[in-house]
């Protein structure tokens, strides 16, 4: 019974209901005699559970599949530059998006454009022989009594932009890339070029705390510290790094950057309780140093 190879065949027989009482007794060894019966009953019950009953509906899965396919299409869009002749239209769309984002109405002619106008303009260009920057998916349509077609379609577009680093849209895109599973290289670039503002700060905090890649967490933490933002959420993020980050380097960086107000006996006590190895001891030692410096 100690080595699985010794009873592989018996277990197969048990699981498939072929085990004789003698084989079952040998398999179960020193267990109570009724264990076989109970195990067989549980296996039988498990076999009667329909796993599909525990899953979402078909329509929910359909939406999920569509989202995956849309994401694949978006990720495989042609490289920037291919649609350079569409720059004016893309710029108009960007202006529209920014207008929506900031809720202003002083954007000149572009602010009168609706998304439908932009897509129609794209269709006219397509009819004139140019490729469209828009992709259509998930079309739903029906014919109306008057002969018109009622349509609903998802539209995705590729934008080629040249903008200042502190541009609102640029930073919105960078912040979104940080928290939405862009590639490692893109995340690192997003950290490097991320501008200011609470939205970006929150994205940097999320990256510093939760990005699966150490280099992104470290760079995001450094960016947060460089900003020297006094926001309470930044200080809480530093505390979280000190408490939970695996990297001693990052914990020490966070300790160094933490405001004096946050260095107190509570922090020392917490670190003391968590001290379990050399790395943690170094953090605790440094925290005490900072507390002493603050006390002077």
């Amino acid at each position: 019974m100690d080595h699985p190879d010794n009873y592989d065949a018996l277990i197969d027989a048990l699981f498939e209901g072929r085990a004789t009482p003698e084989e079952a007794a040998r398999l179960l060894g020193d267990t109570a005699g009724d264990e076989l019966e109970e195990l067989a009953e549980i296996v039988d019950t498990l076999s009667r559970i329909d796993p599909s009953l525990r899953t979402p509906s078909e329509s929910q899965f359909r939406s999920a599949r569509k989202a995956v396919l849309d994401r694949i299409v978006a990720a495989e869009a042609p490289a920037p530059g291919r649609f350079s002749r569409w720059l004016p239209l893309a710029a108009a769309l960007a202006a529209f998006v920014v207008g929506l984002a900031i809720g202003r109405s002083d954007a000149g002619p572009a602010e009168t454009l609706t998304l439908t106008d932009l897509v129609e303009r794209g269709a006219r260009q397509t009819a004139a022989g140019m490729s469209t920057p828009f992709r259509y998916s998930n079309l739903r349509l029906r014919e109306l009594d008057d002969g018109n077609l009622a349509m609903s379609v998802d539209v995705a577009a590729e934008l080629d932009l040249v903008r200042p680093k502190d541009d609102l849209l640029v930073n919105d895109i960078l912040a979104s890339s940080l928290v939405n599973d862009a590639s490692l290289g893109t995340r690192l670039k997003a950290v490097r070029y991320a501008g200011a503002g609470p939205h970006v700060r929150r994205a940097l905090i999320a990256a510093a705390l939760d990005d699966p890649d150490f280099s992104v967490r470290l760079r995001a933490l450094e960016r947060l510290i460089e900003r020297n933002a006094p926001a309470a959420e930044t200080q809480e993020a530093l505390l979280a790094v000190i408490a939970n980050e695996e990297s001693v380097v990052m914990r020490l960086l966070a300790l160094e950057a933490l405001d004096d107000d946050y260095i107190g006996s509570d922090l020392i006590e917490t670190l003391d309780n968590e001290t379990a190895g050399d790395g943690e001891a170094a953090v605790l030692w440094y925290a005490r140093q900072r507390l002493d410096r603050r006390s002077l």
Binding site: I11, E38, I42, I49, R54, A64, A67, R71, L209, A240
Partner: protein, 181 residues
């Protein structure tokens, strides 16, 4: 006649997204079932399922055809599920450490809402309480009806070890059910 999974993989790699859509349809329930206990509720599991298929698409060219597509997808799902759980644990620990109140973990829809029969509910509930490796082995073998070689492939262990995990998992499940009842 149904196109086999490997053919769908080849068609996807040749650029036919509809083939990947078909693969998702075949295995979305499997992937969801494997990750639901790692995720934060029903919506979290559905999001994670999407994420897993997106990653699977990106890794498709690396599928070497040595195992089944089903087992390959299940392996990705389990790895992603474990990563998700680790991330959630880190977040929870951080909040706990600094005494920040956080909403309690939301469980997937309770089985008693959808399963018929008290016994099934007891067994399904007890299954959720098992350690991940035991739970996954049982889920793959009995609910997803994989053979031992496929279970072993998903759990990345030998068939003997898979049987051992399965057997020990069943015994623990039996004890859990007995305690609950």
């Amino acid at each position: 006649m149904q196109v086999d999974d490997e053919e769908l993989v080849r068609a996807t790699l040749a650029g036919e997204l509809s083939a990947f859509d078909e693969l998702m349809q075949r295995y979305e329930r499997l992937v969801y079932s494997l990750v639901v206990s790692f995720a934060d509720g029903h919506d979290g599991a559905l999001d994670l399922t999407q994420e897993i298929f997106f990653k699977a698409y990106r890794k498709l060219a690396a599928f070497d055809g040595r195992g089944t597509v089903k087992a390959w997808l299940a392996r990705i799902a389990i790895h992603e599920g474990i990563n998700q759980a680790k991330s959630a644990t880190r977040r929870q620990a951080r909040h706990d450490a600094w005494h920040v109140v956080r909403p309690t973990h939301t469980l997937a829809p309770q089985d008693d809402e959808i399963l018929s029969g008290e016994r099934k509910r007891q067994v399904a509930t007890a299954l959720e309480r098992l350690a991940p490796r035991h739970r996954l082995a049982i889920e793959l073998r009995y609910l997803q009806e994989m053979g031992i070689p496929e279970v072993a492939s998903v759990l990345e262990c030998s068939e003997g070890v898979a049987r051992n995990i399965l057997f020990r998992g069943l015994r623990k499940l039996r004890r859990q059910v007995a305690q609950a009842s």
